[in-house]
């Protein structure tokens, strides 16, 4: 069998960073090849080299046994390489057929007009050939994300792609759509096409690919056949050491109540009531988890606690004092740290470097500013210490935070918030979009803070995460707390029922952890 793609010793340097270091990759024709690695391992960079978006600093690109030099994606497309990006490049109000043929429309009247009829037929024929089940006349805005992705794939095929690169293709899909996508990939390889897909999820690489190449720190650390490997082996290759896929923790020793939420009701921006009469307390030395399907009021509840949104009614008490009417800044000053849900919108100013970002929230604190003047020297030392202690890469405080990978951005925020030495840490989705290694690291830090006797309020939509970290677990549904349960006792089915807003058969009281009245 011949190689459809052969990347030979590719090195790609950016100012100050080596994104790919002498990477060699061979992809057999008609196979599915997974490119696996943590965030920032250089997967997307490597594929951008193949797609003509970047020129390699060193190395050869061989497609179809011919050495190529792509100046732009147009060249790559001409050579039969197509790429489907993470975010789709489709025109929403136009139809499927129009989107697929866009830029390459069949013409009539001597090229003066677009032959819509033929475009429709060609798209329908193409869709049938691969069993895609796509309606050519549907508008993009009216079809599901999964269908949109298939339209993107068809677009590449329409342009004559033999090699398809998919960047994190499952990121935007529901589990059912993921299954459908993998079937589509099979159809494609059966028809002789070659598929390379980028992922950081082990399971997907094992399920869908024939071969997996693992990248770490920009280097190829191994190519293996999926039939001959295991999850543990792949995880080890990715992270470079053995990974504990489970967290272990000691029993908690709860103390005084540090945060008391009392009958809080919150309205969202459209003035709809999204949190109704929620009451709970977080004690020193415990992790209090809130589980629930996204969009059930968690975001607004947390905003009310951290001072970003005023509750409609109810009180929030922090360390015994009523802080309902205090500003966000006062709450920060009093020792409430907060890892926000949205790190690129809230947690970091993207065009600030890490020195400036390390100051976010402390810009008026006496430790960094006196008489309204910022001590940039101290701010720099602070950023450097966070970078070192929390292993942020690249370890350069002058990097703009936009240049960091998602995991490293998150590690920096986590570090910054821990360095406040908070008495309460509010963490929302702290490991969302973060790779395995960083997830493990962040989990360990959260438990450390708990063991140091501080309170942690954890919100996550990952069941595994809240269950393994929390000492007490509340389930929120439609803005109401369904109950507080012991995460060790409750079964997954019972949690699922609670999250769906139904009461399990077992009496919840038996699961409830004894709670002092706050």
């Amino acid at each position: 069998m011949s190689d459809a793609v052969h990347l030979d010793g590719i090195t790609k340097r950016f100012p100050g960073v080596v994104a790919n270091d002498d990477v060699t990759l061979r992809v057999e024709r008609g196979s599915v090849h997974a490119l696996l690695g943590e965030n920032g391992a250089g997967k997307t960079t490597l594929m951008n080299v193949l797609y003509g978006l970047y020129e390699p600093t060193e190395g050869r690109v061989v497609v179809d046994e011919t050495e190529r030099s792509f100046d732009s994606p147009r060249d790559a497309i001409d050579a039969g390489v197509g790429m489907i990006h993470q975010h789709f490049m489709l025109v929403d109000p136009m139809t499927v057929a129009e989107n697929i043929t866009l830029g390459n429309e069949p013409r009539k009247w001597g090229g003066l007009a677009i032959d819509r009829e033929r475009a429709r037929e060609e798209v329908a024929e193409l869709s049938d050939r691969y069993g895609f089940d796509v309606e050519p006349d549907a508008r993009i805005e009216a079809v599901s994300v999964g269908v949109q992705q298939r339209v993107e794939i068809l677009k590449a095929l329409y342009r004559g792609a033999d090699v398809l690169i998919l960047d994190e293709p499952t990121a935007v899909l529901t589990p059912q759509e993921v299954k459908d996508l993998f079937e589509v990939l099979e159809e494609l390889t059966d028809a002789g096409k070659t598929v390379i897909f980028i992922t950081h999820k082990l399971g997907e690489a094992l399920t869908a690919a024939d071969e997996v190449t693992v990248l770490r720190d920009g280097r190829n650390v191994g190519t293996v056949e999926t039939a001959e490997t295991t999850r543990e082996r792949l995880a080890e290759l990715m992270v470079g050491r053995e990974v504990l896929l489970e967290t272990t923790k000691t029993p908690s020793e709860p103390g005084e109540t540090v945060l008391a939420v009392d009958g809080v009701t919150v309205r969202d921006d459209r003035d709809v009531r999204v949190v109704s009469d929620v009451t709970f307390g977080v004690r020193e030395g415990e992790v209090f988890g809130i589980a629930g399907v996204d969009g059930n009021g968690q975001a607004e509840l947390i905003e009310a606690i951290t001072g970003l949104r005023r509750p409609d009614s109810g009180r929030v008490r922090f360390e015994g004092a009523d802080v309902t009417d205090r500003s966000r800044r006062e709450r920060i000053d009093e020792g409430m740290a907060y890892i926000p849900e949205d790190r690129q919108e809230r947690g970091l100013v993207m065009s600030f470097d890490l020195v400036e970002n390390g100051l976010l929230g402390s810009q008026h604190a006496p430790s960094f500013a006196s008489g309204g003047r910022i001590d940039w020297g101290r701010a720099r030392e602070h950023a450097e210490s966070v970078i070192e202690a929390y292993d942020v890469r690249p370890p350069n405080p002058d990097t703009d935070s936009a240049a960091l990978s998602g995991g490293n951005q998150q590690k920096f925020i986590v570090g910054r918030e821990f360095e406040r030495e908070p008495s309460l840490l509010v963490a929302t989705h702290p490991t969302r979009g973060v790779d395995i290694g960083s997830t493990e690291f962040i989990h360990d830090r959260l438990l450390e803070l708990r063991d140091a006797g501080e309170g942690v309020l954890l919100v996550s939509s990952k069941l595994e995460e809240v269950r393994s970290l929390s000492d007490r677990l509340a389930v929120i549904h439609d803005g109401e707390l369904m109950g507080v349960v012991d995460p060790e006792e409750v079964t997954e089915e019972e949690l699922g029922l609670l999250m769906a807003g139904e009461r399990p058969e077992r009496d919840l009281a038996s699961l409830r952890v004894t709670e002092e009245s706050s």
């Binding site: 529901t174 920060i332 949205d342 919108e345 065009s351 910022i374 936009a402 997830t439």
Partner: protein, 442 residues
């Protein structure tokens, strides 16, 4: 697709350009605008009729070759640009000196004999520069805080009248002479800043507490300011001895001390010095203080600012007040440095401030240079008017071209940054769904 990619790469390169590169780009843009302007001057010189050509294009006639063509042009582009730039500086260069033969007519000295940097035209240039520094800073501060202050003109008008009235009120109680200058000029600036600031705070409060769009309110408040101030001057504070709509004149010692320059030029080095100090002060404020950090964070990412404990409403009001105060000082300068009284029909310094700020990429240090370029162009225009037959409208076109060309790269940088931010958001959204997509890895 390719065109789009190429445009995206270009934008990305612009966004990442270093300070030196940006300066080089600006300079190249300036030369390019002159090249385009030259063509326009030639073409319009061809389509106009005149009795004597300003310059004639022909070919050399060696060995008695008969002349085949000789094309006359009504306007000479070299003369126009020479007047526009060198004229604005009062002709510093020796006649016939060229960079190609720097030593012609004397060792190492291309300067014209008898030329002094203190001449009248330099005074005009620097006078315009000084006022534009303040209006430019006014707009830049607002921009950096993420709000658009189109109302600098109105704040300037309010600050101008307030400072004139304050000085007229204080004259009877203040000492005369140098001591009077020391009291009255700072008073004028302070009152101008206070009133301009208060007037600027109005759209700030409207935005913060009533969610009124600041672009609309500031534009409308410009009309309000001009109208009300015009009414007040005409009906309450008018100089009875003058036909013009103006206040009584301030005493001479209430003017800015002109220092070195001829007092008739209405330019004061002290005022320019104050301007430079304020430029440095605003730069310091933005980069070195907690308030500046709050302001920049709000401008770049309001959500992150809120998360970092910045009170969004208060920041909007205070940055508008600061912006208005700078506009108000410009008004005070117009009164105590240029006119010596308040008169209706104030030139559009406030609107020019918007251009100056964009030209400077909203950077306070850049505002200094952009204001100087603007000052040169404004003062040079007058010289071109005197020295050539080129109509002032055409000179306006050339001026506009220069500004457009120099501002475009900065404009595209802004576009590029915005595009990057949008892309990032799209990427992040995808990534977020990723972790929630019910995967089996966690």
């Amino acid at each position: 697709m390719t065109l789009q990619d190429r445009a995206a790469t270009l934008l990305a390169r612009l966004v990442d350009a270093s300070a030196t590169e940006r300066f080089a780009i600006s300079f190249a843009a300036l030369l390019l605008s002159i090249a385009v302007g030259t063509v326009i001057v030639l073409v319009s010189g061809r389509v106009t009729e005149c009795t004597t050509a300003a310059f004639v294009l022909t070919h050399p006639t060696p060995f008695g070759v008969p002349r085949l063509f000789a094309v006359g042009f009504c306007y000479d582009p070299v003369a126009v640009y020479d007047r526009l730039f060198l004229g604005a500086l009062g002709d510093p260069l020796k006649q016939g000196w060229s960079p190609l033969s720097p030593f012609s007519g004397g060792p190492l000295n291309p300067m014209r004999e008898g030329w002094s940097p203190l001449n009248r035209q330099v005074a005009v240039t620097l006078r315009e520069t000084t006022v534009l520094i303040f209006t430019g800073l006014s707009v830049a501060v607002a921009f950096r805080a993420g709000v658009f202050n189109i109302g600098t003109q109105g704040q300037l008008v309010v600050g101008g009248l307030a400072s004139a009235l304050a000085v007229l009120w204080a004259v009877p109680v203040a000492p005369a002479g140098v001591a009077g200058t020391l009291v009255l000029v700072p008073l004028a600036l302070l009152v101008g800043a206070l009133f301009g600031g208060a007037y600027g705070a109005i759209p700030g409060m409207l935005k913060a507490y009533a969610e009124a769009n600041e672009v609309i309110t500031t534009i409308m408040l410009n009309f309000v300011a001009t109208g009300v101030v015009g009414y007040l001057v005409l009906n309450h504070f008018k100089d009875p001895n003058s036909a013009a709509t103006q206040t009584r004149s301030l005493p001479g010692y209430a003017d800015f001390p002109t220092l070195l320059f001829d007092p008739r030029n209405a330019f004061s080095l002290v005022a320019l010095f104050v301007g430079v100090v304020v430029v440095a002060g605003i730069a310091y404020l933005l980069t070195q203080t907690s308030f500046g950090y709050d302001l920049r964070t709000s401008g770049l990412q309001p959500e992150a600012a809120e998360y970092g404990g910045v009170d969004a409403k208060r920041t909007v009001v205070s940055s508008f007040a600061l912006s208005g105060a700078l506009g108000g000082i410009a008004g005070a300068l117009y009164v105590v440095m240029i006119l010596g009284k308040y008169q209706t029909g104030v030139p559009s310094y406030g609107f020019d401030g918007i251009t100056v700020s964009i030209l400077a990429g909203n950077n306070p240090l850049g505002v200094g240079f952009a204001a100087l370029l603007f000052g040169v162009l404004k003062s040079g225009t007058v010289v071109v008017d005197f020295a050539t037959d080129v109509p002032p409208q055409l000179v306006g076109v050339l001026r506009g071209l220069i500004i457009l060309f120099v501002a475009m790269p900065e404009f595209f940088r802004m576009v590029g940054r915005r595009a990057e931010a949008v892309q990032r958001r799209m990427g992040e959204t995808a990534g977020r769904v990723a972790a929630d997509g019910g995967d089996s890895d966690e």
